[in-house]
Symmetry: C2
Subunit: 285 residues, 2 copies
């Protein structure tokens, strides 16, 4: 009989649960052997925790395969729904979609990425591969550049502009390119992106937040790059939407950070893009 | 010094984490004292776990208040995105919205409720309070009735039709009413709902799955009840959409349950609607 060391502190067990769930970020279905390989957790410990996560409906099991479960859908949806910025933004996002006919996103910065909190798009929506809860390297998106332009310079340390992080052949691949673009955002109050995130797709984004302070989010419109008007005709409604959202959310009460943007303390070293294999320490069996 | 008993088994700690997250189903922001009151967990243990959940980004903290975090948004979105039924359904749902102009839902049964996996709706969408990841009593919705009509009769034990579960004054409030409606669904292959879930809103739904077997999901169209055509003009495209989705998902491979519907083993007693205060055992401090 092999006796495996058990994690015993609550923190260690939460880390393991997080590691187990993170393993599903990529493949949708995993059996026990695959999960053990991906997480490095002891087999029997992983099995017991997986079965409990199934009971809690964070996972579901079919035969030998595990998948993410419906309780995560509920909690994730609740997290967005309870987000104060998202709630304030919702009607303005719909209005911007109605006026422009383009796909509208609400995005926040999370480490080196933007994460989309909403996407409104009608038929065009299916042609653009973004999704609520999905992430993209910030420097490859209009929304990301809109937020980065006013961010604490230390946040830029998180951004890795190398070719490995390029999404298309038009993506920014150097710090100099990024700095030049962020300077433009500071001048015009609008960020532009032409096929830097998805081939054939262009975007325009405006930061949401107080002038002169770090933006808390961005609103963007995306569409076929050859049908986009990269000028004031499109910039004006996007800027106005950002302004209206901020007016709605910034209602004069004690200022609290109104959205899900992860407020990682600065100065704790650069964040790395979450990778199933690197973001959490592995456990030897 | 007060020494508090610590949960030590991984299962007990996962239960506590689940209990902590479930506390946010309702109020969006909770401080430590409120969380302790809602969960019954020992204060110091709750505090340590909350801080770890913040580090894992399942929660976020602002000052003294905790809220659901961005990692849950990502995992929840991933769970929907990886759902095989949802992926197959997506283009057909958009097409149904385009053809009918109504709000389109994809829903699965989870205990006594339906949970929405998708909602497509354009401008009308904001007028209907459903949301992806949200739940409604199954017997008060067209989608729920569409699924229940072919469900194992034991599943109906989960459904509590009493007035306490009514959503509007038109909701089904007796077993006899429910049975009569389910019989109609079996005859016509379509479920109808008139203001039984939301005042002013009507719905039509069709079950998704093999004829003669338990449906795995339902597709519904909702809109202002006074503008809905509760006849074949609307029933036909809804039925066709359900059929097309099932053809797409049921591709002849080994049958696996293709969606997030929680496959609770039957015969384990009736499920109760999740309640923050009752669904998980409390812990004495």
């Amino acid at each position: 009989m092999i006796i495996e060391a058990e994690a015993t502190t609550p923190s260690a067990i939460l880390d393991r649960a997080s590691l187990l769930l993170d393993a599903f970020d990529g493949p949708g279905r995993l059996n026990l052997a695959q999960i053990v390989r991906r997480t490095g957790l002891p087999r029997s410990s992983a099995h017991r925790m997986l079965e409990r996560l199934v009971q809690l409906r964070w996972l579901r099991r079919e035969g030998r395969d595990y998948q993410l479960g419906i309780r995560l859908v509920e909690l994730g949806s609740l997290a967005v729904h309870q987000d104060r910025l998202h709630r304030a933004a919702k009607p303005f996002l719909h209005e911007l979609h109605r006026v422009t006919g383009l796909v509208v996103h609400l995005a926040v910065l999370d480490g080196p990425d933007v994460v989309f909190l909403d996407k409104i798009g009608g038929d065009l929506s299916t042609a653009i591969p973004s999704r609520v809860g999905g992430r993209r390297p910030a420097h490859c998106t209009a929304a990301g550049k809109a937020i980065l332009a006013s961010a604490d310079p230390r946040r830029l340390d998180d951004i890795v502009t190398g070719p490995a992080n390029a999404q298309t052949r038009y993506s920014i691949t150097s710090r100099a390119q990024l700095n030049a673009q962020l300077e433009k955002v500071r001048t015009h109050g609008i960020a532009v992106e032409r096929e830097e995130s998805t081939p054939g797709v262009g975007c325009l984004a405006a930061p949401i937040g107080d002038l002169g302070e770090a933006a808390v989010a961005a609103v963007s419109v995306c569409g076929p790059v050859d049908r986009m008007q990269f000028d004031h005709r499109l910039a004006a409604p996007v800027r106005t939407t950002a302004l209206n959202i901020w007016r709605q959310v910034d209602d004069g009460r004690v200022r609290v950070h109104p959205t899900l943007q992860h407020a990682r303390p600065l100065g704790h070293g650069p964040a790395t893009r979450p990778q199933p294999d690197s973001r959490t320490p592995r456990y030897a069996s």
